[in-house]
């Protein structure tokens, strides 16, 4: 096989992997939008906050240490213990559930039945708030996230495919990052468990009912407030997973919150209300932007991925204004 | 009710008079649909419908739920384009036009579910109804002094006359979202009237009203028709009202025309009676 063909395959393969990473972020948006019609601007900051909390707990950091030191002249930083990764993840989950409860109590409760744009605005306030709060709690220094995830190219795949290239083409074998393989597994597990949860548990069914029709759900006695807490907690969990996956590569730092921008084109493409849409949208965006950068990028100066993802989504939207899997917009007179 | 009479008398005829139909005499044909068929996907909404609307009459379209009444109105005001058939307006065959172009030809309508501009006041809603009569361009609007202001004031006078006519002076500056249902319906009628249409389409103008409100609304409809000679086509469920106020009635069922004529004729039509009594179609 010609090297160029193999490179294309490699780009597509890696595009799919990148797409999975985008989907992980997009999932959190979809969950909240589906259940409450809120476009949660704070999703990216939630991922950052969760990852910071995870590292903070794992390394035994004292929350608000900087603030306490400044106020009382003390010099505390760490408790002096470390927490096993799994335990830290569970504790972070507890924090995210607490967070969901607080969001519901303090913010959402007061904004029931408001227009979407106002709820969107509230999540912006939330994003500001959490950004400041996260830094206050855990400091804005770079944190290395180490929960034993693998990284590096898969040697096995490279060796298995190195012979595919023609003699002298200098083909190395196909490249895939092991972290991406893990991410794919995690995404798969997430989607399956979310599907099982919504199909086979009482809470899950209630969740779907709310997503379909708020009023109807209320009339059969489903507590909207409870549902909101659950959804936000799940979204918090998804945010943590996204934070871990992205943070493993770059360390945990402010920029982690910017991954939300990578999820937006995925959302428009897949539709705000569809979990499979988030996955497939992510894959299309991932492959699309990588292929474009690979084939056209060099001719027009490169670094096209940011805008191309949006343009790709835009083109799709012109033909399907509700996204690939979004609920069809029906206009009645 | 007496106030209605006296108020309506104040409205000058020139205010709500026709324009494109000036050449057409009352009693002559204003609009005609010819063999109109409309389908969504495979579902037939209208099949081979033909009828006419004469200038100056109140024409009712009735039929059971799902008969295709709203679809018919949507065809007339250009929201749907029929796959087959023609629409003739003012003696000319109409090309496939967009709804906003049709509005400029002089057709206005109200909606089954109130379609007011919720963020705007009563006055602004009615002023928006004057849209087709306003001409000043963006630049003139931006500068305001001069042409735009003059135009605004002229049209404001018309809008105020309609407000007086419909007795909604007190809610002039209230955001329509805060108004009760009956008043919203009235404002919507006002907005449609503001366009000074040749043909006014009313989609269930009395749905959800109590008897008193229905009486009010019937009076307004008749007044509009009497005083200004506005041609009206309306959809209504309340048979009593329809028979009282309309000159001629078209009856649709399952997208087909099953009756056409004066209220008395229609009432004695067996097919119509069957449709309303729910006789099985076979």
């Amino acid at each position: 096989m010609s090297a160029n063909f193999l490179y294309t395959i490699e780009v597509i393969l890696n595009g799919l992997m990148a797409g999975v990473m985008y989907s992980l972020v997009a999932l959190g948006f979809v969950l909240i939008f589906k259940a409450s019609g809120i476009f949660n601007y704070a999703q990216g900051v939630m991922a950052l906050f969760a990852a910071m909390t995870l590292v903070g707990i794992q390394q035994g950091q004292v929350p608000f240490a900087h603030l306490i030191n400044a106020a009382f002249g003390t010099k505390i930083h760490h408790f002096g213990w470390t927490v096993p990764a799994l335990m830290a993840i569970l504790l972070t989950l507890v924090v995210m559930i607490l967070f969901a409860i607080l969001v519901e109590r303090i913010v959402l409760k007061h904004l029931v039945n408001q227009e979407p744009i106002i709820l969107f605005m509230a999540t912006i306030g939330l994003a500001y708030f959490m950004e400041g709060m996260g830094d206050l709690m855990w400091g804005s220094e770079l944190k290395t996230l180490d929960i034993g995830l693998p990284s590096g190219g898969s040697l096995w795949l490279e060796e298995a495919t190195v012979g595919w290239g023609a003699e002298g083409s200098g083909f190395y074998g196909l490249f895939i990052d092991k972290l991406d393989i893990v991410a794919t597994g995690v995404a798969l597990a997430l989607v399956i468990s979310l599907t099982l949860f919504s199909q086979y548990t009482k809470t899950g069914r209630a969740l779907r009912a709310v997503a379909d029709d708020h009023q109807a759900a209320l009339s059969v006695g489903i507590s909207l407030r409870k549902i909101w807490v659950i959804v936000w907690a799940i979204a918090g969990f998804v945010a943590m997973v996204a934070g871990i996956m992205w943070g493993a590569k770059s360390g945990v730092q402010f920029s982690l919150s910017l991954i939300a921008l990578k999820a937006l084109p995925v959302l428009i493409l897949g539709g705000f209300t569809s979990i499979p849409g988030a996955i497939i949208g992510g894959l299309i965006i991932g492959v699309g932007e990588k292929l474009f950068e690979f084939s056209i990028g060099p001719m027009i100066g490169g670094a096209t991925e940011n805008w191309f993802a949006y343009v790709l989504a835009l083109v799709f939207l012109i033909f399907r204004p509700q996204g690939l899997f979004g609920d069809k917009i029906i206009e009645r007179v | 009710m007496t106030t209605t009479q006296s108020n309506s008398a104040q409205v000058s005829k020139s205010v709500i008079s026709g324009r494109a139909s000036a050449a057409i005499q009352p009693g002559e044909e204003l609009l005609r649909v010819e063999n109109v068929s409309l389908a969504f996907g495979g579902v037939k909404a209208l099949t081979d419908i033909s009828f006419d609307i004469k200038k100056g009459e109140v024409r009712a379209i009735i039929g059971p739920n799902g008969a295709g009444k709203s679809s018919m109105l949507n065809v007339i005001n250009g929201f749907y384009h029929p796959q087959e058939g023609e629409v003739w307006f003012c003696g000319k065959k109409r090309r496939s036009l967009k709804p906003h172009q049709i509005a400029h030809q002089g057709i206005a309508r109200t909606f089954q579910n109130i379609a007011l501009f919720k963020g705007m006041s009563t006055l602004d809603n009615i002023m928006t109804g004057r849209f087709t009569h306003m001409r000043t361009n963006l630049l003139m609007q931006a500068i305001w002094r001069g042409a735009a202001e003059r135009e605004e004031i002229e049209n404001r006078q018309v809008a105020e006359e309609i407000i007086d006519f419909l007795e909604i002076q007190a809610i002039r500056k209230t955001p329509v979202g805060r108004l009760p249902y009956g008043l919203q319906k009235r404002v919507e009628l006002g907005r449609a009237l503001a366009a000074q249409p040749d043909l006014l389409l009313l989609d269930e103008p009395m749905a959800g009203m109590n008897i008193e409100e229905k009486e009010d609304m019937s009076r307004f409809i008749l007044d509009v028709n009497d005083e200004f000679g506005t041609t009206i086509a309306l959809i209504e469920h309340d048979m009593g009202v329809v028979m009282d106020i309309s000159d001629r009635v078209v009856v649709l069922d399952y997208g087909k025309k099953i009756g056409d004529g004066t209220p008395t004729e229609v009432r004695s039509n067996q097919a119509v009676v069957d449709a309303y009594l729910g006789v099985a179609h076979d």
């Binding site: 509230a122 400041g132 830094d135 206050l136 343009v311 012109i318 509700q322 206009e331 | 501009f117 963020g119």
Partner: protein
């Protein structure tokens, strides 16, 4: 008690459609204008100009522009900063290509160029609605920033890739460049702000403004009344982009003087302008100003109180600033979801009735 509607009768429609129907409002407005024009220029210093007033005035224009599109016409856009960049780069190219051209003409032409670009990106709005459109406008944002960064022609092939504003004057008074006096820059922006706000106000109260709002509130009904959706949406995109372009041009030439597109006109700025109009009040001229004031002044104020006033460490103050701004946004939304403008209206309504609440 002193704020009264009573006795303030209108006898003509012309009076009734006045911007400030209440005489007291009108007087307050004139006093404010007089203060802004006659007093502020004499007491302004570099700090007030550069840190507070210039960003406030210029961002107000941008907020005004976005409010036309989003608040009045209902088309949510996240491409604001991209369009500001169009204004800024048009301004730069015009300033360097035609050094003799008056800065006023340059700034306004930049607005016109931006309006044309805005029209282009407004076309998809006919099919795409709501949040989908918002995210679609991000395509404009990212593409424009990429373009200005990538094509050297836009920054005259300078090695640094930055654009910097040459010195320009109006009747001998410098308004751009480092030597320009604070008062001159301030007055230049103030005049533009007042004129543009007045024009926008006129647009929003007449035929065009009502057609925008009609499209916003119920596009189908609007169409059946005779409003052409494409024309109306495009006119909103055009007017909005014009204002945003002017603000971008001023942001570059008068306020910053040197700009790197990715940093100054990044996606964060787009969000910031959107926040301004939502906090200030959608579909309100006053709201555009209130929102810009809130988001420009509040951080400066908080910082000055915490760092200079209370002597807290700068980083803790910065974090707390985020917490407070975020908290305030949520607080205001809970108190009054429709923004500061509505809060202001309700306060006035209460004042009108005070001290007799019923």
């Amino acid at each position: 008690m002193f704020y009264r509607q009573a006795g303030d009768f209108k006898t003509t429609y012309r009076e009734d459609i006045h911007t400030f129907p209440l005489r007291q409002d009108r007087i307050g407005y004139y006093i404010l204008l007089a203060f802004a024009f006659l007093v502020v220029p004499f007491i302004i210093n570099d700090y007030w100009a550069s840190a507070v007033l210039l960003p406030f005035l210029i961002m107000s224009i941008a907020a005004l522009g976005l409010n036309v599109l989003t608040g009045y016409c209902g088309q949510v856009s996240l491409g604001t900063a991209g369009f500001m960049a169009v204004g800024a780069y048009s301004c730069y190219k015009l300033m360097t290509a035609f050094p003799e051209l008056s800065i006023i003409i340059v700034v306004l032409t930049s607005g016109v160029i931006t309006a044309l670009v805005g029209l282009l990106f407004g076309i998809p709005s006919l099919r795409i609605k709501g949040f989908y459109l918002a995210v679609a406008t991000l395509a404009a944002q990212f593409f424009l920033v990429w373009l200005f960064n990538k094509v050297p022609w836009f920054y005259n092939n300078s090695a640094s890739g930055q654009i910097s504003a040459p010195v320009r004057d109006i009747a001998g008074v410098m308004v751009t460049g480092p030597e320009a006096q604070a008062w001159a820059k301030y007055l230049f922006c103030l005049v533009l702000v007042v004129v543009l706000a007045w024009l926008t106000r006129n647009l929003t109260r007449g035929r065009i403004g009502r057609s925008w709002m009609a499209i916003r509130d119920m596009d189908i009904a609007a169409e059946i009344i005779g409003v052409n959706p494409l024309k109306t949406k495009l006119s909103a995109f055009g007017v909005s982009s014009f204002l945003i372009g002017v603000s971008g041009a001023l942001y570059f030439s008068v306020y910053l003087g040197a700009v790197e597109v990715g940093e100054v006109f990044g996606i964060q700025k787009s969000f910031l302008v959107l926040f301004m109009i939502i906090i200030g009040g959608l579909g309100s001229i006053f709201g555009s100003f209130a929102g810009a004031a809130f988001l420009v002044l509040m951080p400066v104020l908080l910082k000055n109180i915490m760092v200079a006033g209370l002597g807290w460490p700068t980083d803790i103050a910065a974090h707390i600033e985020f917490v407070i701004v975020g908290g305030l946004i949520i607080f205001f939304l809970i108190v009054e979801p429709h923004g500061l403008a509505q809060l202001w209206r309700l306060t006035k309504e209460k004042l009108l009735l005070w001290p007799f609440p019923h």
